[in-house]
Assembly symmetry: C2
């Protein structure tokens, strides 16, 4: 059986993830971008079936009860979900798929589908962990503890990811994610399998 | 202490490895290319200290006895070796180094230095493992066995490598190796360490 590969891209809101993904879509015409389901209202510049599949809360509940989703999360009162059927169809066709999934959805995906590649985009304003860990001065012990705690929470989230890309310049971020995908295609077992000489080890 | 990263590139002779490495050198000006020592005579287009450090067999033996080399191999009666001192100096400076090493030298490097990234360039004429494994017809059982044996020897060699790049078109090969280096820089632990928020796990 053919076996495709999926890449999960996650990012805190305000990271510029949507812009990055749209650029990647143009540069990687042979990669499929999974279209999520959402109960949030569509914005004016969004197209049904391209940006999202827009559904009602009732539709979401009914679909979820039928086990249609590979993962789902609630963000600010709206549901977001990935279709299990279309993910599995693409994988069985041997294709490559990019999934745009919240950090909380990642755990569900990792339990059900091994061998995914997980990429975390970090906004540059978050990329000051060193500052927050080492800056000292007139601050209270509580402030220092809070900073340490917040930084370690962010790192913990990233534990589920293989790659971390700091989105300083959009061109660089797009090139880095593109490079990750090209490099993953060159992983030994993947190449040997495609040559018919070896299996996944 | 700073800790650099090294990439090992190996290839059977006639793969076009030298051309690939020269192109990479231009495209990756911030990466150092390790200059090997060799006892083979220099060719007309080769420059001492750029292509190789050319030394005599006596010099090689004396240096080897002093433990100067990180790895060495004999190929067609000539010795090739990598300087331990310069490798360790580059690594301690936090730099990135590309080493051009024979498959037999790789074992020595892996025993001494963990965390290297190993890339095997496969000539397209070798990339027909599937053919050799599945082609059947009027051939004798011995021929089939020989083919299977040769193919599995080649795969065994690749066991020590993280990535396999099939050198079909030089532009693609250069882009793939460049992508591998960019992707390795985005590995989670490496990024978190550079942000000061986490260690190698």
């Amino acid at each position: 059986m053919k076996s495709g590969r999926f890449y999960v891209v996650s990012a805190p809101s305000g990271t510029g993830k949507t812009t990055v993904l749209k650029r990647l879509m143009k540069e990687l015409p042979d990669v499929t971008f999974s279209v999520s389901y959402t109960t949030r209202p569509s914005r004016q510049d969004e197209t049904e079936g391209v940006d999202y599949h827009f559904i009602s809360r009732d539709e979401f509940q009914a679909m979820n009860q039928k086990g249609v989703f590979a993962e789902w999360t609630e963000v600010h009162g709206n549901y977001y979900a990935t279709s299990r059927v279309s993910l599995e169809r693409y994988l069985s066709q041997g294709g490559e798929i990019i999934l745009d999934i919240d950090t909380r959805g990642v755990e569900q995906i990792q339990q059900k589908y091994p061998h995914g590649v997980y990429i975390f985009i970090l906004p540059p304003r978050h990329a000051d962990l060193r500052d927050r860990l080492t800056r000292r001065g007139s601050e209270s012990q509580e402030m220092i503890d809070l900073r340490l705690q917040n930084a370690s929470k962010e790192i913990e989230k990233m534990d589920r990811y293989d790659y971390v890309v700091v989105n300083k310049k959009i061109d660089e971020t797009v090139e880095q994610i593109r490079s990750i995908i090209i490099a993953e295609r060159c992983k030994r077992d993947r190449v040997l399998r495609s040559l018919g000489g070896g299996g996944e080890r």
